[in-house]
Subunit: 205 residues, 3 copies
Amino acid sequence: VLYYLDLFGIAVFAATGALAAGRKNLDLFGVLVLALVTAIGGGTLRDMALGATPVFWITDSTYIAVATVAAVLTVLCARHARLPRRLLPVADAVGLATFTVLGTDKALKLGVSEEIAIIMGVMSGVVGGMLRDVLVGEVPLVLRREIYATACIAGAGAFILANRLLADPALASALGAFVVLGLRLAAIHWNLSLPVFAHRDEQGR
Amino acid sequence: VLYYLDLFGIAVFAATGALAAGRKNLDLFGVLVLALVTAIGGGTLRDMALGATPVFWITDSTYIAVATVAAVLTVLCARHARLPRRLLPVADAVGLATFTVLGTDKALKLGVSEEIAIIMGVMSGVVGGMLRDVLVGEVPLVLRREIYATACIAGAGAFILANRLLADPALASALGAFVVLGLRLAAIHWNLSLPVFAHRDEQGR
Amino acid sequence: VLYYLDLFGIAVFAATGALAAGRKNLDLFGVLVLALVTAIGGGTLRDMALGATPVFWITDSTYIAVATVAAVLTVLCARHARLPRRLLPVADAVGLATFTVLGTDKALKLGVSEEIAIIMGVMSGVVGGMLRDVLVGEVPLVLRREIYATACIAGAGAFILANRLLADPALASALGAFVVLGLRLAAIHWNLSLPVFAHRDEQGR
């Protein structure tokens, strides 16, 4: 089940990369590169930092294939129909939840400490989107929306805690993923209804 | 012969990095860093992802030396003479052809699948230029010119196909390189004469 | 002693990252990410290129803890007081000196050639700041101020030379660090009093 959720996360992030490329009028290859970078960037950096090389998508070509198909489908859909506005952030939240838990889990299995495993989980979740935004010349969205990575940190922490207490990895994974997902969905809703946040930003640091 | 072609590719990409630095009024170190990043960025990421570390330029200092000399010569030449406009893209196409074939070959020798080897070839060819453009604050040129990476993909594919059919690695390498080179030179010519491409971009995705 | 200097360098670079994030009105997580990237970016790339994985901050969580605390303290201080203008560049010079020498030393111990060790030292010193600037959408400061990386190269070279001649690693480290520090402090002073530099930049390459 985790493997298919992982592939689903890859597909969803590839779609967000393709849509970002579309907004910048990139050509077909630009769309494909941005989709791949967004989908596999976080896990690639995690694996390179851990020394878990060759990185995950080299040993299993399914990842690249799924991301490519997702990018092409996104382009086709975006041409022929208006996607509902909420679809993308919600799907993105599901991908983020999966990547965070899987990244934390992979790091733990390689024997790193729990604090570092949380950082690896966050890195798996957010680095792809950061690279996507830098490549199209924008300050990464992740840096500007507090609740995005905070959700990753909370979810990775919940996963680790549940792992210790429950001795049931599947349940712990589900709990961690639901924490990320719940916080993200709440945040998507909250952002729309709380302009005060923007105000605090203007005053702030 | 491949080794010297590789060094030629390094020199050419270093020159394009130095010229990009010059356009942005960077200082002498900025020129050098951009030249190095452009020349070795693609191969470095390829080696790190494959786990083929230490990366290629650490075990053989010739690469850094060649890139440094090429950057300095470029700065000197650009000060004292106007370079012909077509020189750079043509030389860049030769470098791209070499890097693509060598990158694909290196990945195959490390035992990855053929699809992944193609991606590694493309990565070797285009990542240096992407880093160069991001560092000077531009959306990577590669993302905006379809035929650039398409040429890499076609060349890497041709190389792999020829490798299988011919059992003569040198001939297969030459074939792959000529596919990249031919497509790029055609594209350079085509871009100049086909404003329709820009038009499709405006409408497009 | 070297270990504590290293942690001091981490803290100082984390502070510069946090301040850069503050200037861009990033949120609390943006501050933390920029601080971490600035503090550990150079060493991470060095370790990944050398194949010295897992990278340094994975095996010793102290680095992440120190960078996090430094970032939080910086935000708190910057809210409640105006920091003296000269404090940051001077502290940054100390961090740069430490990172350059430690990076060169680590590379030498892993058996690379001396030229490559110098490049690894420079990479340890400057890459964190480059990533910081790219993430907030600016052309890296390092590329624009010649004396910054030149100081690193000179210091790394002095360290290697002293290492060979003196057979006293501690003294050699101190010498290398003082070369970086001295050049940087001189450059900070010189930049303020020599507008001619900006002029040469405008004409230049």
